[in-house]
Amino acid sequence: MKGAALESGKGIKSILIDLMTDALNNGAVSSILVPSTGPDNSFPWTLVTDVSSLDRAEPIPPIMSVQGAKALASFTQFPEEGRLLAVMRPCEARAAIELSKLEQIDLNNIILLTFDCPGAVPLSEFGDDGIMKPDIQQSETIRPLCRQCTSFTSEGDVCLTCNEDDRILVPLTTKGQNFLDSLGKRAEADASAWMKWAKDLSEERQKIKKDAENKLKSTYGGLNGLAEFFSGCISCRNCRKVCPICYCRLCFIDMKDRRSPSSEYLEHSSNAGAARLLSNTLLFHVGRMAHMSLSCVSCGMCEDACPSDIPIGRLVSMVSSNTTDIFGYSAGSNPEDPLPLNTFQLEELHEYED
């Protein structure tokens, strides 16, 4: 893999800001979607059209505030005459690609720029006094799903890679290549040292991920385990609300959550000794996973938003590893791969039918 060599040894944030400044100044793009610093250590997404506003840009904030793909999905088609550069984490870029397959984002005039992601700090541990900086070398500070993330780089159209002192901008798609061209940069630098770093770390993480998934399954697998897992769930549905993939205006559970005849609960109660109210906790979570686990990008946003500290993202991500395996699919990695539920083969899955 080759990319354009940028200023060696320079901080990643400064390099990203230089790139954004260049891109706006020379008209390669007309606007930029990037988090900016807000009051009290907040990092809202901002649509920047004026170079001077880039002072406040914080392309790699310590937390994930809103999943970037959700920010991208908040507007309709981007105008032909402009181009938007979206600077986001790899899992956010993957969610954006999933959402474009789900016809919720039109990526036509949008360039996704990613970087080697250091992970994010859990929202609950991030106060507005002590900033915890995520550190890829010190995994205990980053969120559990970040620690087991295997797609921490090289997603979207173009990626800023940082191995030791090398700073190489690697184009990943034709759009990414065109972006480099418009900046007058040529992909001539060899990025193989970075590739090796990424491959090694990814393999290491793959093991961590498998171990974590096995542990989760052995602790919470089965009906009792699952009931225990969700015993503290307060049915706020925050996990769905903040998830980039759950874009539905009306979720199935909102129809199921209407009042039911008391007889239904009394029957459950007479069988089980007592019946939980609100009901539908497991229905919501299992039904949701059946709907969207194929597209889960393991971004951890749901887990960050859970007021009950339920490791919901790890559970959905574990299930997602299994469901995507059926089709050899990887959510958001390749824009060309069709969504598994939008296509089929005539001869397949015979073990599931008779």
């Binding site: 399954k217 919470y220 697998g221 089965g222 009906l223 009792n224 385990g225 699952l226 009931a227 225990e228 969700f230 015993s231 199935f252 199921k256 239904e264 459950h268 069988n271 089980a272 000794g273 007592a274 019946a275 939980r276 009901s279 539908n280 906790t281 497991l282 229905l283 299992v286 039904g287 996973m289 059946a290 709907h291 686990s293 194929l294 574990m318 299930v319 299994n322 469901t323 059926i326 089709f327 598994p340 539920l341 089929f344 005539l346 397949e348 899955l349 599931y352 039918e353 008779d354």
Partner: protein
């Protein structure tokens, strides 16, 4: 000892499997009384959420039955249904729940006997598994 009579929900596609069930009836085939049929227009109408709901509300088994591949009234519905069913089964299995309680079968309008045989066989499988434990779980 009391014999456990499973309650099975069957989502049957209107054009094939429901007609197959009808044929089994008019042919006076002896049928276990355990299946409660729900008519759907196509196997692809069955959202995984419907199956999950039946399962968590205590159905001992859930059968989805549709036209044989190639015969769907809407051409490709059952191919999509098969993919969705595979995903649901995998979700259920990954969570350590009993995926054996879910079944997808293709039964044509002329296969009354096959319908009878599948229902009988599935009923026996479920009888061996015993009642769905969700009925005894408080924290659903």
């Amino acid at each position: 000892m009391e014999i456990f009579e499973p309650r099975i929900i069957g989502f049957l596609c209107n054009w094939c499997s429901y007609a197959g069930a009808d044929l089994a009836g008019t042919s006076r085939l002896k049928m276990p009384p355990n299946l409660v049929p729900v008519k759907v227009m196509c196997s692809s109408r069955v959202d995984p959420e419907m199956v999950t709901d039946a399962f968590l509300r205590g159905a001992d088994g859930v059968l989805i039955a549709g036209c044989h591949p190639g015969d769907c009234h809407y051409d490709k519905g059952n191919y999509y249904a098969r993919r969705r069913f595979a995903v649901l089964k995998k979700v259920v299995e990954s969570l350590g729940l009993e995926a054996e309680r879910l079944r997808l079968s293709w039964i044509s309008a002329s296969e009354g006997a096959r319908f009878q045989q599948i229902v009988a066989e599935f009923t026996e499988t479920i009888r061996k598994l015993g009642p769905n434990p969700t009925q005894k779980e408080t924290l659903l």
